[in-house]
């Protein structure tokens, strides 16, 4: 039964007529499902096949409005179907359905031509928002830990925080898309039947963004989702911290490539750390047993 449920639907949103081994699917269905006076075994099995695909496609449809706007509604459903056929849900929750979409688009960019890089940026950005919504929040760094010299202090960044190096301003693009669509909240897990995602009514498409390097933090504050653009040096320092460098080494590495000379760097870095602490991004290296001094 599971094999039948997971197989993609045909072009008319029905169950495929041929089984995996070339037999008629109706023969396979009859072998284990009883018909009744109104429905054949095939038709009864088909209900489950359709409900599965409508549910998972509906979920990706809601979770990826930006990617949908880039590739178009019809192509989005084709790409989502191909993705889920290759990577079926491996989690008890639909929340994780898109967790391997970035990987898939890297492997099969033909689904998003000619906007491969933009689509990949958007997939990463939209996944980062799911992470920011409900991933864990660790205890923030204690004042004791702040007394540790920067040469020894290692920290962790919040699991809900994603640092994205992007080639397109997908943040502004998504805001424009959502403004056009009217923001939709992620639906809850529920076990009931949902209708096939309907193509939205014709609306004027939002112009695709031009190529532009954007360094973005996707996070939450007070349980609201935010994106924050970062300066290159700040982004590099945060990446260093995330990779386990000491605060001192992260700062040195973060400034290694800078060409800006007129900046009071010690003051600037202090301000950044102040901001990041206020946002709650910096936390203990280990949740138990305090910081790890390197």
């Amino acid at each position: 039964m599971a094999t039948a449920v997971f197989r993609p639907l045909n072009a008319r949103d029905g169950m495929q007529a041929r089984w995996t081994d070339g037999r008629e699917t109706s023969t396979v269905a009859e072998s284990f499902i009883k018909p009744n006076d109104r429905l054949s075994s095939f038709e009864r099995l088909e209900i489950y096949n359709r409900v599965y695909w409508f549910r998972v496609l509906d979920c990706l449809y809601d979770d990826y409005p930006g990617l949908r706007a880039i590739v178009g509604e019809k192509r989005f459903l084709d790409l989502a179907t191909a993705y889920l056929a290759k990577y079926p849900s491996a989690s008890f929750t639909l929340r994780n359905l898109g967790s391997r979409l970035e990987k898939f688009l890297g492997e099969e960019p033909q689904w998003v031509t000619p906007n491969e890089e933009l689509a990949l940026d958007m997939a990463r950005f939209e996944w980062a928002q799911i992470v920011a919504f409900d991933d864990a929040a660790l205890p923030q760094l204690t004042t004791d830990a702040l007394d540790t010299p920067p040469a020894k202090l290692r920290v962790r960044l919040q699991p809900y925080l994603s640092l994205l190096e992007l080639n397109f301003a997908v943040d502004k693009f998504l805001l424009a898309v959502k403004k056009r669509e009217g923001d939709t909240l992620r639906d809850e897990a529920s076990n009931t039947f949902e209708a096939m995602p309907q193509s939205s009514k014709r609306r004027r498409a939002v112009r695709l963004p031009k190529r532009e390097r954007v360094l973005l933090a996707v996070h939450r504050y007070d349980n609201q989702l935010y994106y924050k653009r970062l300066e290159p040096e700040a982004f590099a320092i945060l990446c260093g911290l995330a990779n386990g460098l000491t605060v001192e080494k992260a700062c040195v590495a973060g400034l290694a490539k800078t060409k800006r000379t007129k900046v009071d760097w010690p003051r600037q870095i202090q301000e950044w750390f102040h901001d990041w602490s206020a946002l709650g991004w910096i936390c203990q290296r280990k949740s138990v047993g305090g910081i790890v001094a390197g």
Binding site: V5, A132, D134, A136, P159, A189, S190, N191
Partner: protein, 283 residues
């Protein structure tokens, strides 16, 4: 039964499912509601708004956990990591009992996110009962197992659905979450008398009841939870109450969700049947 071992001796009244579109209304207006049922999986996350809302709800209301992904009827062993996550939530909510479905839904680590029907065999009943015992022991709370709506029946079945449900709950010594709407939906899809179902399950094991709306199609009925409860389901509910007594009852509304007040008013209609039953009993 009002309060019994299967709902941990809790005499709850009429509740509704806690749903996102109602969060703001509930937190701001604090309406009087006997209890809320939560979908456990929506709160089995590591942080953020879902848990913040849940904690605020828990300060004011009684909450019971209802799961959709334990897959008690699975031939595979239960997923320990999943059980640990549920247990973490049980500690948070203090749910007196919890429920999940008599179904399967994942195989080889792949998830259908559906409540798939089981072949009603003695072997499947034993496996399922073992799973329920294991889950209940691990979680430390009684489990009520819910009958699902189904659209297919298997050649392999050796008994009726109600005989299967009875076999499972007797073997597992657990409770039943009797979903009256699901019985109605399945009875229409499979051509059995829903009252045969109601009359022939172990009534003393019913710890909770579900009511909900459904949608009629040309050749079958789907369990859509997007309508008020339909008359034949209310009639069945009245009959169920007569058989099992005043029991914790919950209205499920999951799609095309109207205002909080509409959902709550719909749920409270259940009181009419309960009161009528009481009056009859007193007379």
């Amino acid at each position: 039964m009002p309060a019994n071992p299967f709902n941990n001796f809790h005499d709850y009244g009429i509740g509704i499912g806690l749903r996102v579109p109602h969060y703001r209304h509930i937190l701001e207006k604090k309406p009087v509601v006997d209890w809320f049922e939560i979908i456990s999986e929506n709160f089995m996350v590591d942080g953020g708004r879902p848990l913040e809302v849940l904690d605020q709800i828990l300060e004011q209301y009684r909450v019971v956990q209802h799961g959709v992904a334990m897959y008690l009827g699975s031939a595979d062993r239960l997923n320990r990591e999943h059980l640990k996550k549920i247990k973490r939530l049980v500690r948070r909510t203090n749910t007196p009992w919890l429920s999940d479905h008599l179904c399967w839904g994942s195989v080889d680590g792949r998830y259908t996110h559906d409540l798939l029907p089981m072949p009603y065999t003695f072997a499947a009943a034993k496996t399922t009962a073992d799973n329920i015992r294991e889950a209940s022991d691990f979680l430390g709370v009684p489990i009520c197992v819910e009958n699902v709506s189904s659209y297919a029946e298997f050649h392999a079945s050796e008994m009726t659905e109600w005989e299967f449900l009875s076999e499972v709950v007797e073997k597992a010594d657990c409770g039943i979450l009797l979903d009256v709407n699901n019985i109605y939906v399945s009875s229409q899809n499979h051509g059995f008398d829903p009252y045969d179902y109601l009359n022939n399950v172990p009534h003393h094991r019913v710890g909770q009841i579900h009511i909900a709306g459904h949608s009629k199609f040309e050749k079958y009925i789907l369990d859509t939870h997007d309508h008020p409860v339909l008359d034949p389901v209310w009639k069945m509910y009245a009959h169920a109450i007569k058989l099992v007594g005043k029991t914790a009852t919950l209205l499920e509304w999951d799609d095309r969700i109207p205002t909080f007040d509409e959902v709550h008013q719909e749920a409270l209609k259940a009181n009419r049947f309960v009161e009528k039953q009481f009056q009859n009993a007193a007379a």
